[in-house]
Amino acid sequence: MTLLQVKDLSVTLITAQGPQEVISNINFSMDAGDKLGIVGESGCGKSISALAMMSLLPPDSQTSGKIILEDQDILSLNSTQICSIRGNRIGMIFQEPMTALNPVKKIGAQVSESIDLHMNLNRKQTLERVTELMDKVGLAVSRFPLNLYPHQLSGGQRQRVMIAMAIACNPKILIADEPTTALDVTVQEQILDLIRDLADSSGMALIMISHDLGVIAQTTQNVMVMYTGNIVEMGRTVDVFQNMLHPYTYGLFSAIPHAGSSAQKKRKRLSCIPGQVPELHLRPQGCNFADRCSKVSHKCKAIEPAATKISDQHQVWCYHPLTQEDKK
């Protein structure tokens, strides 16, 4: 069953240069239990699309298209209806656990906040639910009493509290926006394991937003790669990562120094994508990547490419998908 369907979603924000389209016509859908990754660099629109799903965009932004959760279009709901979805049917984890938690409220009170809002429980049941949640995220109440304040916890523990808050009402979808970017690798590993286990055990769908290809590779089944507000490549994570077709995806992948580079005799230069991401108001006509692409043709500069289906599970928005030879 389709849980979430995003149809022709476009978002326009008011910037210093006037209204700018930051997301243009993106389409995707998710089933219950799916794990979708959204990967891209800053400014590609990955966080904006998450905020759109939570209807948390700034008030002066304009959206078009549909975001259908089960059978409701989120974009057509009024603010009270939206509030009954946020935190209840969609949970979200933010990047900075330091700033996303209220520093003057006890962690127990913060976790019970959305339970009080959305679930009809009495005080005792709420307390039971909070205790159960803290257990689930690995902060057993015996060691981490509910009356601790956020500053008494480490970064990873705070992120666990955030996760407990996000899953408090058994949401259908959990959106994790760069949940581990501010954390150390060893802590990141634990948090990713936790998120994945929670999603597996509850059948909750997961949208993992990250700039880190490794995080996406290890936590998702499907992935979409975004560049300047467009999806450039989408498919099963295995297919996309094993066979990158869009020059941008491949460029991103090659730009990371890979483990084992010290084994090589001579240090090779890192291959990098020339130029930089165009600013919003300077985006070219046609394919947005054309100016930085090695395989650019006249067609790319004139008309924006439509989706090309490589297989049922793999689509790419490019006139000249890479071949094996291109990658040598």
Binding site: G138, V185, E189, L213, Q242, P257, S262, V277
Partner: protein
């Protein structure tokens, strides 16, 4: 043997913590615990560790921005903390720093000329405005910006370009050492690759020495030829990058390396199980005791010292010799 460019000798750094009671002796936090390192001219030395391990403190001490509690740093044989301040000021042209945050490290109220020319004030000779401008334009071109950018302000540049400006500022006095504290971690990967390539090119051109501080293991592996892994203010493993990454011996180094998520979705990792510490931590114990899978009674009672093993140095009683 040639004299090392930088010699860090038994550096300790304690920070005072706020008192709990009015008349209590102020408690302290030991950020660095006896660090000894030598950096040779033209090499790239990596410092790896998690946040709070003391790697940034070490950078600030090497830059003489902070005083060590005990121990000292020699730069070209001169003791940075035992020379007159005027001499230190002139010596500063030889070591410069590139910071992490490309947004915070450039004064928003100054133009690029003012920012990049700032270290020139440490030179003995006074430069005229025209000479300064000439030098700044030259260096801007060298880091891949335009010579005409001198009159612009930082907000007119993207993150990657700002980091190039920061590199230009560090390079303008033709230093021999550049301390790069997480210099590329705030950048997007494609921009990070451009900046890393630039840094490598500049190293080849000017025989620069880098002290490269990062939490990103793959970047450190790529950039450096020597690495030290720091845990809780102590070096736990140190050696050539090749030997250390091919053959990590300390359990902490192994944990770090294993934790980096693999970009190949088919290489699934083993799940990590939480370990229950078996031994009581004391001030004498190995700092990694409570997280170590191989902890023994000996580790709880004595802290291991760095000993040579399989081509590099490791501070562990039970190193994982494969």
């Amino acid at each position: 043997m040639k004299q090392p460019l930088v010699k860090i000798e038994d550096v300790y750094k304690d920070y005072q913590l706020p008192k709990k009671y009015l008349f209590q002796k102020a408690p302290f936090f030991r950020a660095l615990h006896g660090i000894n390192l030598e950096l040779n001219q033209g090499s790239s030395f990596g410092i790896v560790g998690e946040s709070g391990c003391g790697k940034s403190t070490l950078a600030r001490i090497v830059m003489a921005l902070d005083n060590p509690t005990s121990g000292t740093v020699f730069f070209e044989g001169r003791d940075l903390f035992n020379i007159p301040s005027a001499e230190l000021r002139h010596l500063r042209r030889n070591f410069q720093m590139v910071f992490q945050d490309p947004y915070g490290s450039l004064n928003p109220r100054k133009n690029i000329l003012g920012i990049v020319a700032e270290p020139l004030d440490t030179l003995k000779e006074r430069l005229s405005f025209a000479e300064k401008k000439e030098r700044v334009s030259q260096i801007l071109v060298e880091v891949g910006l335009n010579a005409a950018d001198t009159d612009k302000f930082p907000h007119e540049f993207s993150g990657g370009q700002r980091q190039r400006i920061a590199i230009a500022r560090a390079l303008i006095t033709r230093p021999s050492l550049i301390v790069a504290d997480e210099s590329v971690s705030a950048l997007d990967v494609s921009v990070q690759a451009q900046v890393l390539n630039l840094m490598m090119d500049l190293q080849d051109k000017y025989n620069l020495t880098y002290m490269f501080i990062s939490h990103d293991l793959s970047v450190v592996e790529y950039v450096t030829d020597h690495v030290a892994v720091i845990y809780m203010g102590q070096i736990v493993e140190q050696g050539t990058t090749k030997s250390l990454f091919q053959n990590p011996l300390h359990p902490y180094t192994q944990t770090l390396l294993r934790a980096v998520p693999d970009v190949n979705p088919l290489n699934k990792r083993r799940e990590v199980k939480e370990r229950i510490p078996q031994f009581e931590m004391t001030s004498k114990s190995c700092p990694f005791l409570d997280r170590c899978i191989k902890a023994t009674k000996n580790c709880a009672d004595n802290a291991p010292k760095l000993v040579e093993n399989m081509g590099h140095w490791v501070a562990c009683f039970n190193p994982d010799v494969a």
